[in-house]
């Protein structure tokens, strides 16, 4: 009988569909990078607070990572997008809902907060892998707690956790696809949109997979260069 399906790979480059996929790619890259900036800074902060001597800060940062890691990202995204504006009351909430491209900003914000909790976990592991002696040694030079973290421990831990951070950076592009559920027109959204117009969803999603593959390989290549540059001599890096 064979396949009762007429393949039409032309949808991948025929206009306007080919352009849609490229526009989607551009949006995926923009969301990924902006969310990554939030995730990195917030993640380093929260991760560091988890090992500080202050009990309340430790409690707060532990609660942060547990909450964000134990709720599916889709639910978080919906919460920020649908419930977030309502938190500000009816009047202000309605105004927020009228912001142009609100879904795009919410996606960046939500993805940033979510990934920050994962970065914080890696930070904690990084700190744990630095021996107690090193902390003592730094303090004995007369540095304060703040200086110790700022100039020695955080840069040190960051260099140790480069490989898992690379994985996390890749994951942020993959997770950005979930933003399609609130109507952000990134790659996955665009492949679905092509299906809605042409009924050739199989070709469109296959094309999108190829784009993610190229994006992923490019990121791994670039991060590999950065990793080798920041690798601590004598420590085990990525094979």
């Amino acid at each position: 009988m064979g396949f009762a399906y007429d393949f039409d790979w032309g949808v991948l480059w025929r206009q306007p569909y080919g352009m849609w996929l490229l526009e989607g790619l551009w949006l995926t890259i923009k969301i990924g990078f902006q969310a990554w900036i939030i995730a990195l800074f917030l993640g380093i902060l929260v991760g560091t607070l988890r090992v500080t001597p202050w009990r309340w800060l430790r409690f707060f940062s532990t609660a942060y990572t547990e909450v964000f890691r134990n709720i599916p990202f889709l639910v978080q995204l919906f919460f920020w997008y649908y419930a977030g504006p309502m938190v500000f009351g009816e009047h202000l909430g309605r105004q927020i809902n009228q912001i142009m491209g609100l879904n795009y900003y919410v996606a960046i914000f939500a993805l940033g907060l979510y990934t920050a909790s994962r970065v914080a976990e890696h930070m904690r592991a990084g700190f744990a892998s630095i021996s107690r002696d090193q902390y003592q040694a730094v303090l004995s030079t007369g540095m304060t707690q703040y200086q110790m973290y700022r100039y020695v421990i955080i840069p040190y831990a960051l260099r140790i956790i480069m490989p898992p951070l690379t994985t996390e950076f890749l994951t942020i592009f993959k997770n950005s696809s979930i933003a399609m559920t609130i109507g952000v027109a990134e790659i996955t959204f665009m492949s679905y949109r092509i299906d809605a117009e042409t009924f050739h969803g199989l070709e469109a999603t296959t094309g999108a997979m190829f784009i993610y593959l190229v994006l992923g390989l490019t990121v791994v290549r670039i991060m590999g260069i950065i990793e080798s540059k920041f690798k601590i001599p004598g420590m085990i890096g990525r094979e």
Partner: protein, 218 residues
Amino acid sequence: MFDAVVRNIYFLLGGFGVTLQLTIFALAGGIALGALVGLARISRNKWIYQPITLYVNFLRNMPLILVIFWFYFVMPIIAGRPLNPFLSAVISFIIFEATYFGEIFRAGYQSISKDLTSAAYSTGLTYSQTARYILIPIAFRRMLPSLITQSIVTFQDTSLAFVIGLQEFVRRTSIVDNLEVRSIQLFGFVAIVFFIFCFTGSKISRYFEEKGRKLGMI
């Protein structure tokens, strides 16, 4: 405070039931297939090793949501008729999660040293006895924390079946939200339910990890 949740509680819990079913099928299939994928990943036969490695590396680079769509489009072509979204979702979860479970099994298999096997043989145990009483229990204990963690991830991942219209927990919540417009309590409720299950799971995983470390297994 949770009035809209209470009014629709049976509908919502029904959705949670679908989520649980999806998780159970995905885990049963994903772990079984993952155990085989892990074996293939340590195989010396390149005709087994290379295709499976390609499959694992390829899917681990893909967003799950896209994989769900892809199977949703490809299954009717293979089956020659439209498939229900539940079956389509289960198949995509099994094939996707097996790549992650496969890597856990690979690490578990590789964590067993040759010396341990030799030591077991030298006491007079046969191959099947060695596997049954020494290798499998040790590998399993080592893998257990990661297996639980990945199971929690799978449980969270099932929410993505939302996109092919499957009426699981999140989809049903958003249906209720469209009628009631009580987003804070509705999505708050979903978040709390997921949190309780996943937090408990991560505590269990940590317990086994600590236990393994104390016994010097990890």
